[in-house]
């Protein structure tokens, strides 16, 4: 039963990930990525990490992907046709990715096949994680809060149009 769930959702994750990479329309790509992330959340549940599965859905599928969709629709990109990649580069890209993937899977199967899982349940609920974060990892936790603040400021500075005669107006005068 567990194996059936694993293979079903693994197939969903891989197929929707392929749609993200191969589909021309970025809106379809973003929605497929949401579906892929939901399948990955099921994987997290199978790995006995239900707290992180909830975080995956709330943060990734809920917040980050909505931001992606918002930007795609704000820039009105769903109608813009993507220019075709030159065939030689396209072929080299597929070749490199295939070689990379085959090598990765080969070495995983050669070196990372463990005999058995350790006995006993793996306790990784929100309580255990919270105790760890606020004891051993309290300094990185504070650093992340500063990083998020810096990201907010950076996003505002870069995406905001200048008020009057700022950088955007100057940039438009430069011949391209």
């Amino acid at each position: 039963m567990e194996f059936a769930i694993f293979f079903f959702f693994a197939a969903i994750a891989v197929i929707f990930a392929l749609v993200v990479v191969l589909h021309r329309n970025p809106v379809v790509g973003a929605l497929s990525l949401v579906a892929s992330f939901f399948a990955l959340a099921v994987m997290y549940v199978l790995l006995e990490a239900p707290f992180l599965a909830a975080l995956q859905i709330i943060v990734y599928a809920g917040a980050i992907m909505v931001l992606f969709l918002f930007v795609i629709m704000l820039l009105n990109l769903q109608h813009v046709a993507e220019p075709a990649t030159r065939p030689v580069q396209q072929f080299l890209g597929y070749l490199t990715a295939a070689a990379f993937g085959i090598g990765l899977i080969y070495f995983v199967l050669k070196y990372a096949v463990f005999a058995a899982l350790p006995k006993g349940p793996f306790l990784a609920n929100a309580r255990v994680l919270g105790i760890d974060i606020f004891q051993a990892y309290v300094f990185p936790f504070e650093m992340v809060s500063i990083l998020l603040l810096a990201a907010i400021v950076g996003a505002l500075v870069m995406s905001g149009r200048s008020m009057k005669g700022g950088r955007a107006a100057i940039g438009n005068e430069v011949p391209r």
Binding site: A10, P26, L67, L117, M158, S159
Partner: protein, 100 residues
């Protein structure tokens, strides 16, 4: 119980798909989504090893990676909005100047 290497192989496949997207696409936002896919593949690896060794450190790394991915998405999409305002495109081949 599903053995650990099943998850590792799934993670390798997803990471390879992300690499394929970064190497073959020209739309900046699609490349960015491929990077998110790779980040998630790495998260899956962290969780698989965390269960294999009964350690919570891997889970806490995933927690931090999610926070950093949120920051990265905010700043990266702001860069694309700025690029679009200047160039009217998010084709990464067009973004070939540091200053204009």
């Amino acid at each position: 119980m599903i053995p650990t290497h099943y998850f590792l192989v799934l993670s390798a496949i997803l990471f390879t798909i992300g690499v394929l997207g970064v190497l073959t696409r020209k739309n900046g936002i699609t490349i960015f989504m491929s990077i998110e896919l790779m980040v998630n593949a790495v998260n899956l690896t962290f969780l698989a090893y965390a269960r294999q060794f009964h350690q919570t450190h891997g889970l806490i790394f995933v927690f931090f990676i999610m926070a950093i991915a949120a920051a990265e998405a905010a700043v990266g999409l702001a860069i694309f909005i700025s690029l679009f305002h200047h160039r009217d495109t998010i084709d990464v081949d067009e973004a070939n100047l540091m200053h204009w």
